[in-house]
Subunit: 261 residues, 2 copies
């Protein structure tokens, strides 16, 4: 199969579905081709110049259509190589009612996950960290930043902050922060999470291997010891295309809508 591309689109002119701006016509045309299986995940599209000529539009217009599909995760572009239909990604599920660590969670599913360290160290705290963690004056903060991956696919960036009094030696943390905390008797028993959709900023997008501005989940988590003390404050960015969070809801009374104690 030398040139799948040639077979699929033919070599002749491209007939666009009429209606609306050209770049949207072209976008719909590409979506339709994928929809009906004419091109499949992993397949290459014709080059931008080729498509432009055959659809009788300018290359700028072709790019505008493709860029939208790239941002939506439908296509993948590789500089110097070509444009491809994005491979299907399996979604990962995570519970929103059980407090589990990422590592333990994935191990339970038999998924090969790993983490790369982005940062580990003791720092002077930001005002926000001082307030949330209830730091004493002069107390430093331990920061741990990790890139979570399954195989070669990045899943999420996790940036955790803990009081230096609780995690004196960030370098000693192994694969799982929670099991490290458990060994020192400081494993959290509950946590509050805030979840929102967000656009992934350029720097994070690079780490997560998605186009800048892609949809992702921004999660803030504050964890508590049984004593009620805050021990961990974590901000994470999850790729939008690989994560499903699952929550179980129960009939609530009006007294407490926020989950706050």
């Amino acid at each position: 199969m030398a040139e799948r591309t040639g077979d699929i689109f033919g070599d002749g002119p491209v007939a666009l579905p009429r209606g609306g701006p050209l770049y949207l016509q072209l976008k719909r045309w590409i979506e339709a081709a994928i929809e009906r299986g004419a091109i499949r995940p992993g397949d290459a599209l014709p080059s931008e110049r080729d498509l432009a000529q055959r659809a009788d539009v300018s290359r700028v217009t072709v790019r505008k259509a493709m860029q939208q599909l790239v941002r939506e995760g439908v296509l993948v572009q590789r500089h110097g190589s070509g444009t491809f239909v994005a491979p299907e990604t399996r979604r990962v599920e995570q519970s929103l009612s059980q407090l589990t660590s990422f590592t333990e969670d994935m191990a339970r599913r038999g998924m090969a996950v790993r983490a790369e360290w982005l940062d580990r160290g003791l720092y002077p705290p930001s005002p926000e960290e001082t307030v949330i963690l209830g730091l004493g004056s002069g107390e430093r903060v331990a920061r741990i930043a990790r890139l979570r991956l399954t195989g070669d696919t990045p899943l999420a960036i996790e940036r955790a902050s803990l009081a230096a009094g609780i995690l004196a030696d960030p370098e000693a943390v192994g694969d799982s922060l929670y099991s490290h905390l458990e060994r020192s008797g400081a494993r959290p028993v509950r946590a509050l999470q805030r979840i929102r959709a967000a656009h992934i900023a350029e720097a994070d997008a690079l780490l997560l291997q998605v186009p800048a501005g892609s949809a992702g989940l921004h999660i803030e988590r504050i964890s508590y010891l049984a004593t009620g003390r805050v021990i961990e404050f974590t901000r994470s960015i999850y790729r939008g295309d690989t994560y499903d969070f699952v929550a179980e809801l129960r009939l609530g009374d009006a007294s407490n809508g926020t989950g706050q104690p």
Copy 2:
């Protein structure tokens, strides 16, 4: 204050921060101006042609920078009128552990929310609805689609499906689906939600008044009666810039990571 714009940017040339592609330099320059308060929410930016001339770049390049900021929700463009710094939006919080109805939830917060009907009626079910709702052969499905708003700001699109046997007359549903169900003794007591980040498609983006492709939350909810029967299957799209979901987590045992019974 005739022309805030003129004062803020001056009339002279624009000095871009060096480094990287021009459109990113320009994007950073605009972000910086907003950051330091030189232009504030609601203020107009110079026109694209004006900025292009003063920054000595082409209009296409100006547009590329602005488009990114529009997608991120930083700027708002109004055809024929101009480009403005987006007004700040207050975020709405919603619990992920208490099963409450949208209407009741907001009323408790004293927020003026309302809904517009997008669709109400009985339909032949899709295969998915038949399976999830456990429909009998020939049984139809009641569909309710609403646009949720606070004041004039759209918040979310909700599309619910119920067995016709449970909701025989969709037209009779008032402001709150749950209180309607309660009256017929069919209020759900628990639900499973799946949450993911997603790009908002063009049609939905129009309803939600955000640019197509913006980040949003896609939520699927399946609600159960005390008997265990599924009574509601809802898909919702929430704007990413106006919603925070809050979940409380408790230390989980390994037996049950999904919240599934």
